[in-house]
């Protein structure tokens, strides 16, 4: 599945010449984490310009994919701000962070793709992809009928009793002679 995804992401119409790799190195941490459904975590990426020239405008983009293949993942739900722009001088490195909330249970891979951006796109660059972050999200029950029942029953009951008390109290006051 991962191989398929990577292949899709790196596919380009066959250029006349071989793709030039971006001169960046991408490190990501942590490489493995475990959380529960709804849990929030941070992924930090360090991007280094390994080339001799400035990188120009580049875009680091976070993606999430299901390893098990049975869970529909909309990365937008996991992290609303998944793209970050940067520009690196030769040898410069920069750390980027993403805040993520695990909205599905299962086994997932999170990774960062670095692509040229804007006027920096020449058309023959290869993408740089970070190592995968292995994310294990345990399922948990966040809402049960039993947990909701006290509120569902007690709130209207108390309010109803209060309303009845006020109503009949007012009637009794009104009928006083």
């Amino acid at each position: 599945m991962i191989g398929l995804l990577v292949g899709v992401l790196t596919w380009l119409p066959a250029p006349a010449v071989a793709a030039e790799p971006l001169s960046v190195k991408v490190i990501v941490e942590p490489v493995h984490l475990e959380t529960v459904l709804g849990g929030r975590f941070m992924i930090t990426t360090e991007i280094t310009n390994t080339g001799a020239a400035p990188s120009g405008e580049i875009l680091a983009h976070l993606n999430v994919a299901s390893i098990e293949g049975s869970v529909y993942v909309d990365p937008e739900d996991w992290s609303p701000n998944r793209s970050q722009q940067l520009s690196l001088e030769p040898g410069e490195r920069q750390k980027l962070s993403w805040e993520i909330q695990a909205v599905n249970a299962g086994h997932f891979a999170a990774y960062v793709v670095v692509v040229p951006f804007g006027s920096n796109v020449a058309g023959n660059e290869a993408l740089m992809i970070s190592p995968l972050v292995d994310v294990d999200v345990a399922s948990r029950s966040t809402l049960t009928a039993g947990g909701a029942l006290p509120v569902v029953v007690m709130v209207p009951l108390l309010l109803g009793l209060a309303a009845a008390g006020v109503f009949f109290g007012a009637r009794r006051r009104g009928s006083d002679r």
């Binding site: 459904l37 739900d77 609303p80 809402l143 909701a148 029942l149 509120v151 109803g160 309303a163 007012a170």
Partner: protein, 280 residues
Amino acid sequence: MTLQVAPPAVGTEQDRRTGTQLQSRWLVVAEQECRDLWTSGRGLILVFLFSVLLSGVTYLTSTNQALNFLEQRESVNLVLQFAVAVGVLATLVVSADGISGERERGTLETLLVTPVSRRSIIGGKLIAALSLWIATFLVSIPYVWVLARGVGILGRALALGFFVGTLVAVGLGSIGLLISAACNSNKTSITASIFLLLILFAPTQLPSGLPQGWFFDVLLRANPVASGLAYISSILVEGHSWPQDLALLITPLLTALIAGGALMFAGPRLVRLTRGVNAG
């Protein structure tokens, strides 16, 4: 039968006639209006029916085995939308009855001959109307707690719901009182206010699949109710950060400020025994 009551001995002759208490009169009006709303049972019946609605929604949500994490967040959003809708509607209806209702019931004249300023009368009535919004919000808290605690958005949901709902309630409550002061007929006042609210709520109910061009965007942003609810959704459902869609709060904020300001400055001139050509 003879009247043998001695005048209240509260100090000097001047005090005897004016009272020594300098307590804000709008507070006195607000207190009595709230007492009328709540001890008559009308307010309690409203929040009771609202709680029944929320109990139904919460129970159906909690028994849905297929409910996923995101849908649970949406249900929190839904409860808050109900709270804002019901709270604002109640505030608006009570406001719309505020002055025109007193005219029809023949109780406005006795209020106008007291030394209480018209502004205090209006201010007190607005506060009392807002108590209905506060009450519906308070009733929604346990339901939001049940639905939101598992998805980690409880604090955010409550703060958002209270802030946005209060802005919308203040704005529409003020508009309702202005309409009420300008209408001789209570029926006209309440009908016009409810119609206004329906117009404001309509865009929020449009199917999401409809093409959304610039016109819809303008319609959304110019509408204090729709833009306020959209802001809540953007944070709770779409997970945006607080500042990201802050522009959506401009209209609710402006509505509250402008309508509230108009009420305080122009309202006193409208609070008269009758409205219309023969107004005195």
